[in-house]
Symmetry: C2
């Protein structure tokens, strides 16, 4: 298996956690998004979307989109499960994953922040306000949804990590990077702190990747 | 089953298609997003995200996020399948759904366009350029991904509609509404035209909903 990766990408961070949980070590190829390596004809011929992560399985099967790749990994390598077996728990885990992957992350990723600069000459403080505003709105909902379940568990769904945590932890890491205020989200922060004690999460973070630039340490 | 719905929401449009394909007719409750009915304390107590669609099943199980609800429906009402049985086809269908649900739709929905007005005083022409720009970037990739598969089929994955088409058709309908140029996307447009001949898709469009305002006809 080949995985196209980039240390800073939250979507790639999700897939790294899933691979670690499954004990899989595919070949990694690094696409430096900040250098626009994803915009080259060479990479677009592989992944027309020009995003990471992207997976090529041993038989040549190609797949884009972090959540689709994670579901595929869970179906092809079932142990340990990262999508719960119970129908309602599966659905709940996917809904948390999608709140992050559809409603929080996309409006804050690099291409949108770049576009705010290009189209509206947004400066750093405007970009940070945009970023933390969507984090706040999304995390207010997430915190209430976790509360509404009336189950206080170590991870979003229960005592083992699922696709929900795989999405949540990179999003919290990024919110920390932008110094967004998170003290009003005790459940979200509690799950993050718990998860980051596990090597599958800890080792997947940007600063632990081979392509992390030494200048950022 | 109760579904919270709004005629204009693309995510609700997806779920309406899935319900039609499954032959399900839940009770509908209409949340008028343009009137900010989703921002009331009453609705936020039900769905803390304040978005539609939202589902409450007969046993009280509640679920947000269109794709999570659609996967849940497919698992609880397996016939006809809208997630293919084959592992690779499932994965491919989900990846197309997520390209739309994670990378095209969220950056163009109402709350983002409203925010461009609030933060940057964007006028109608700026909003349309923003909207059609992301449609163009996303559809260029989708068209190439469909081409790259080298399978010319009636729907995204094969001869029957899947979660991929359930996401694609509302996105094309919305692009038409904003008058985005689509003639360079023959496969995308071809799938749209084919799908809209089916009552499951046709009857799910905004103009066919009970909450569609008569002034818009």
């Amino acid at each position: 298996m080949i995985v196209y990766d980039y240390f800073r990408s939250s979507a790639a961070f999700r897939l790294r956690i899933a691979l670690n949980l499954k004990g899989l070590s595919p070949e990694r190829r690094y696409i430096h998004l900040a250098n626009n390596a994803h915009r080259t004809d060479e990479y677009r011929a592989i992944n027309p979307q020009g995003l990471v992560p992207y997976m090529i399985d041993d038989d040549g099967f190609e797949l884009s989109q972090s959540l689709a790749i994670i579901e595929y990994l869970d179906e092809t390598h079932p142990e340990p499960p990262i999508i719960p077996a119970d129908l309602k728990e599966r659905a709940f885990a996917r809904s948390i994953a999608q709140i992050i992957a559809c409603d929080i992350h996309p409006v804050n990723n690099k291409r949108i922040l770049d576009k705010l600069v290009d189209d509206f000459q947004a400066g750093d403080s405007v970009k940070t306000r945009w970023y933390c505003g969507w984090i706040h709105e999304g995390f207010v909902a997430l915190e209430k949804i976790l509360e509404k379940r009336r189950v206080q568990s170590a991870f979003c769904v229960g005592e083992i990590p699922t696709i929900a945590d795989i999405c949540l932890i990179p999003q919290v890491a990024n919110a920390n990077r932008f110094k967004c205020a998170l003290e009003v989200f005790p459940r979200v922060v509690g799950i993050y702190q718990h998860a980051m004690k596990l090597s599958a999460f800890h080792d997947a973070q940007p600063s632990k990747q081979p392509d992390f630039p030494s200048a950022e340490i």
